[in-house]
């Protein structure tokens, strides 16, 4: 491997020299490399002339310098190229570009690629990509033309290349038929490129999930330093024909900042605060919003904590109690507490009143799967931590990260008023679900 990459590097240099200087620099994405966690390039795709994979050596160098994978700089300049990468599902998607291009353009595109893979294969892992390498290649071919994004709407892509299913794979191997769409896509020509024509369902359904996440930082004393609510409305629309939907809220003024799927008519929102749109077929994110921070955010879970280390005793005291608050009678579920304990901690001896706790002595990560909080019997985790003998008392205090879910409640109080459909005759089945989750919810100790 090592020698291979060295040779490659020379190749890269040679290749570079080969380029005629007078040739104009081509813009946009030149090539993409997929690199797995162990540093192997397992897929490469070039849209213009071939760039030697040795260009990735610069990436590997940067990776080595960064202690954590997420600290690899997203943009790495090399003598002749720039590498722009995103890390998702432990895979680095590295785009090679040659000249000036808005970095977010490339980053956003790479994320769109990942989203598409996920959409096609359910997961976006190295194995899934390798198993579907031909589909992946076909997708990449359609998504970029000469390095410039061509078709990124999942609905257009699905018309071009059908997503693999187990059944289709079997049929294909037996009959030799293809997963490339027989018909040429019309979506690209349509005024609503996100929706394909001729959609048919026997059960017409439209489901909307209002999911809100609370991002909060709670300080030592329990007071809120910052708390804000970020929400999304994810939709799963399976409707026949060309339905035109409008979704209205009881209290649209709550929404402070919004971003829309391109299908939403912006003017209508500006004027009436109504979401009016012809939906894409299937799953999509209709809206993401931010609830104004002027509104006080109800913090549903509080933590009483006492984590202390005594000087000289090589022992630490650990005491953590959770209790729900302001949940409007809804249960707080799927509670997961995690905390990165100081390096000096050797091991822990704790007892949990409910749920299971684990401590990894290598990464020093404590995690406690609490489950559902019963307001009558508050969950707690108590005990001692043993410190490395001879080490001094750690001066840093661990931060506690909490995850939880509350069903059937949007913590901001946002309520959908009604959903109307125009343009089609049938009566669709409509469903709205609310959920509140912890986003980046941290308690400092």
């Amino acid at each position: 491997m090592l020698s291979g990459s060295l040779n490659g590097k020379q190749g890269e240099i040679r290749h570079q020299k080969g380029i005629n200087v007078s040739l104009p620099l081509t813009k946009m994405i030149h090539s993409v490399f997929l690199i797995n966690a162990s540093g192997d390039i397992f897929l490469e795709k070039h849209w213009k002339s071939v760039v030697s994979r040795s260009v990735c050596d610069y990436f590997f160098e940067a990776q080595e310098r960064a202690t954590e994978p997420e600290n690899v700089p997203p943009v790495i300049p090399t003598p002749h190229h720039y590498l722009i990468s995103v890390l998702r599902h432990r895979i680095f998607f590295v785009a090679v570009i040659q000249s000036e291009v808005p970095p977010l353009f490339v980053i956003e595109f790479l994320h769109r690629v990942v989203d598409t893979f996920q959409d096609y294969f359910g997961v976006c892992t190295e194995a899934a990509i390798k198993d579907n390498v031909v589909v992946v290649y076909e997708l990449l071919e359609e998504m970029l033309d000469n390095g410039f994004p061509l078709a990124t709407e999942s609905n257009i892509l699905k018309e071009l290349i059908k997503p693999p299913t187990i059944l289709r794979t079997m049929v294909n191997t037996i009959t030799g038929s293809t997963n490339v769409g027989e018909q040429l896509p019309t979506g690209q020509l349509s005024v609503v490129p996100w929706r394909r024509t001729g959609v048919k369902y026997t059960n017409n359904e439209a489901y909307f999930d209002v999911v809100e996440e609370i991002d909060a930082i709670i300080d030592k004393s329990g007071s809120t330093i910052t708390a804000e609510i970020q929400g999304v409305i994810d939709a799963c629309v399976k409707l026949t024909g060309m339905p035109d939907l409008t979704l209205s809220f009881m209290n649209p003024r709550l929404l402070d900042d919004v971003s829309f799927h391109p299908c939403v008519r912006f003017k209508r929102w500006e004027a009436e605060r109504i979401l009016s749109f012809i939906p894409p077929d299937g799953n999509f994110r209709l809206l993401s919003y931010h609830v104004s921070s002027q509104n006080l955010v109800a913090i549903p879970v509080y933590v009483k904590h006492n984590i202390s280390f005594r000087e000289g005793s090589f022992q630490g005291h650990f005491d953590l109690t959770l209790w729900p608050k302001q949940t409007m009678g809804k249960a707080v579920e799927s509670v997961l507490v995690s905390s990165q304990l100081p390096r000096g901690v050797l091991n822990t001896n704790l007892s949990a009143s409910q749920g299971i706790y684990t401590f990894d002595p290598v990464t020093k990560l404590l995690s406690w799967d609490v489950g559902k909080i019963n307001p009558q019997k508050l969950p707690s985790l108590k005990g001692t931590m043993s410190l490395q003998a001879g080490a001094s008392k750690p001066d840093e205090n661990p931060t506690i990260n909490i995850q939880f879910k509350i069903q059937q409640m949007a913590i901001s109080g946002l309520k959908v008023n009604r959903l109307d459909m125009y343009g089609e005759k049938y009566k669709p089945f409509k469903g709205i679900k609310y959920m509140t989750k912890a986003g980046k919810f941290q308690v400092r100790t």
């Binding site: 031909v134 071919e141 971003s259 003017k267 931060t399």
Partner: protein, 1118 residues
Amino acid sequence: MSSSSAFNDDKGGSSSVGEPEYGHDPASGGIFSSDYKRHDDLKEMLDSNKDSSKLEAMKRIVAMIARGKNASDLFPAVVKNVACKNIEVKKLVYVYLVRYAEEQQDLALLSISTFQRGLKDPNQLIRASALRVLSSIRVTIIVPIMMLAIKEAASDMSPYVRKTAAHAIPKLYSLDPEQKDQLIEVIEKLLADKTTLVAGSVVMAFEEVCPERIDLIHKNYRKLCNLLIDVEEWGQVVIINMLTRYARTQFLNPNINESLLEEGGGGEKTFYGSEEDEDDEEEEKEKKSEAAALAKRKPYVMDPDHRLLLRNTKPLLQSRNAAVVMAVAQLYFHLAPKAEVGVIAKALVRLLRSHSEVQYVVLQNVATMTIKRRGMFEPYLKSFYIRSTDPTQIKVLKLEVLTNLANETNISTILREFQTYIKSMDKDFVAATIQAIGRCATNIGEVRDTCLNGLVQLLSNRDELVVAESVVVIKKLLQMQPEKHSDIIKHMAKLTDNIQVPMARASILWLIGEYCEHVPKIAPDVLRKMAKSFTNEEDIVKLQIINLAAKLYLTNSKQTKLLTQYVLNLAKYDQNYDIRDRARFIRQLIVPTEKCGALSKYAKKLFLALKPAPVLESPFKDRDHFQLGSLSHLLNAKAGGYQELPDWPEAAPDPSVRNVEVPEWTKCSSREKRKEKKVEKPFYSDSEGESGPTESADSESDSASGSESGSGSEESGSGSESEESEEGSESEEEEEEEEGEEKDQKKKKNKEIKKPVQESESENSSEEEERKNERKRRQRKNDSESESEEEEDESESESSQSESEDSDSEAEVKKKKVKTAQTKPPPKPAKTDNKKGKKEMSLLDLDDFEPAPSPQVTPVNNFLSNSLVTDLEGLSLSDNVLSPATISPSSATKSYELLHRITGEGLSVEYCFSRQPFSPDANMVAVQIEFTNNTTNDTKNLHMEDVKLQSGMRVKEFPEIELLPAGETTTAVMGIDFCDSTQAANFQLCTHSRKFFVSIQPPVGELMRPVFLTENEFKKEQGQLMGMNEITEKLMLDVKCRNEHAIVQRVITAANLSRVPCGSDKECRFSGRTVTSSSLVLVTVASKEEGTAQLMVNCEKMVIGTMLVKDILLALTQ
């Protein structure tokens, strides 16, 4: 060979079932032999007749390519399959070709003919794909072929093919830069394209091939601004970035006169307030022409095109695509007046929720922005608070932003946050925090002491890094104001007893040495202690001890002479040669001996020179000379291909370059054309106000005619009606002189008519009769004055002016004007004849111009009207110019442009919906087409061809027109069954020599025909169309539309409906059926107090209903 074939069989058998294989692992067998074998096997599969085995082979080959394995020796075998029928095989072959064609140029040529054939395919998608692959094959020999294909595709009728052509341009350019000039021609052509599909791609090509040719943008600037919101997201990014650069070269710096602007404050703001368009064209023009000259003296005035750009990009801040948001943000940062930049903060903060890579880029840009415009992000301070789970690179950037945001008011909260960060386990981050504290202390005098104290406490931290960083920062801080902080120096001196970190000890010693004058008593004592422990110190500390000794010797030799000598002696025998060297050097320098006179004189200056305090400044300072959001900005280094963001020009270049030539049409038709444009825009563009200014600018170009001012105000009239009405009656006359707007006049006329209607009918009829007669006369006179339709505007304004001077009867003037403006004199008669039939009006009444039917009357279009009208036409008009568009009920018809005079090379074509039943097929909508031959040659054989329709739609072509002599106008009627949809009918309009691609798109109101219902029937039908089929909207009626008349008239103009009698005068009801499916369309407008009203549309076809509501709403509110 025989053995290898056996192997092949094996291989083939197994792989036909399994997954495609990814290349070949060299470890599993002999590299050389098996590679050849494998390829033989693949070749065999490729040669087979079965598509399935071809496909299998191609899949395996593609998998090899994906893994970066060489598959080039398969080229001949693969290229044979380029014409394969199976689409997937074909596609995979394309993938292979594009990858290897460069290496095997000769063989690649074999495939070219296939693509050339594809370029001629009737299917647009196949044409596009052929062009795409052809242009991706990097073979220099085919450059001419590519060039030809691109040129041809650039004028393809399909926008998708044109888009592909735009994509192909940079490909060809990178292959052969020599083609630049020709390519620029193609780019220029494509830039003029009006479809959103093409816009993004062609601007991309422009940016790659000829970014310096900013002049190509002028003519397309306004169009690009207006299309922007409907362009796909990636194209938006490219266009916005390009327009930023463009604006920097063409407009004046909006912040040029910041103080003045601030003084102007509120007033300025409302004047340039968002939706308000400059209502007075003349004023606007003046401004523009003078702007350059006055920029320095007068308060800055923004070019309306500049404003247009800002306004049209703003909604994109709501895009889900981070790159689009960032592009808009940088545009605002670089182009917007200071007061307006704030809007981008919220959107950028939202992006911080996104993936960490996005955060990384956004934070870099925010950091740069916060230096220039701190206030903008201050409200979002807490969004930059750091979480322990953030990656370090994000933490450091957030810290940077927090530091930039710190000011007197928020510093205490920020410092409290910093205190938490210092306890973090991430030591790089802690070090960055300490530096950040240092910077806060430098910038904000009030907290300097607090920060210093805090930092001093950190000196006792256990972590070396923390201490070292603190000492370094303290050192920097003290350097700024040493005299004030002798106590801190004293405190640090005491710390030497405890602090063991060498770096920190060294730093302290340096400080004491540097400021020994401020701590005269302590310094010698510290030296004494250090001398004692000298031998046990680390090297850097030893060096600083020598340093300290030297400095003390120079300032206070009495007390320290012996100590210094002792230290120097110790150093002389140190193990480290650096220290020995230093000792020798210093001894020579400071201890005066007879040998070295010269230098020692300056010893004090050398050692105790005033050292400049280090400046703690943000690494993001002045980064904004790079265009934000660019790669160059991120790297703070110019990336290849980066286009500099030009400085604002001193004086704005001529703004008229952006005017688009519009031929001297009647205003009427140019307005119609705009309407049509709006209809074409399917999505966001449903608001009218948005597109205002451009269009007004468009119409500016017919400035040659005196009516220019009129057409300008016409725009604003439709844009902001309320304003006009506020102007009150005094200005009315003025307005009349200036305005040529049909609508307005109608309104005014309505006012006029309102009275008679409310009074008794009989009285008014005789009055009206008289008036009408007079009008008729005048109209004839007027018409004969005007020689051609084009000139009518001019004549109109002229005559109207003279008339108003006489001003004996205002009403007459107005009415006459309506006549001339609309140029639809005779049609009305027919209609009104019908309408008023009940009232038994005399024939003279036919000439009535009242566009709205009187209440209680159902307007039903009469087929007979045509002949009647023609008769009248013969009576009143001697010229032949009167367009056939006029032969239809005036209130209902608008004509739309089908073919522009310029694009049609002299042939101009307009169409209107005549609202008459199309006799050959009742399910079709009649479209009346008017051809005008503006050339000097005859046009022959006008006919249509190649009709492209959505499924279900049908067209009855108009009969071929054999000859259209030069300068003549003729009409034809065709029928289109739109299937109750507003999809456009596309076809080619052919003459003997040329073909033009045109499309007809109906407004929803034309998809129906009126039916007569009684009140009871209406109610019954309405009762059955409830729920989803009913759409209700509340609206505020336009001031000029608050009587029944006006409402009826406007509704009927908007849609081909008939009035349903109704008992209440507060309600107007209309009914119709869609042309194709005969679905009932019921409209109710119920007016309420103070101009509010409720609009209800019941229609089985919900899309039609929704669209109709929108149209009627627009008609009633404007």
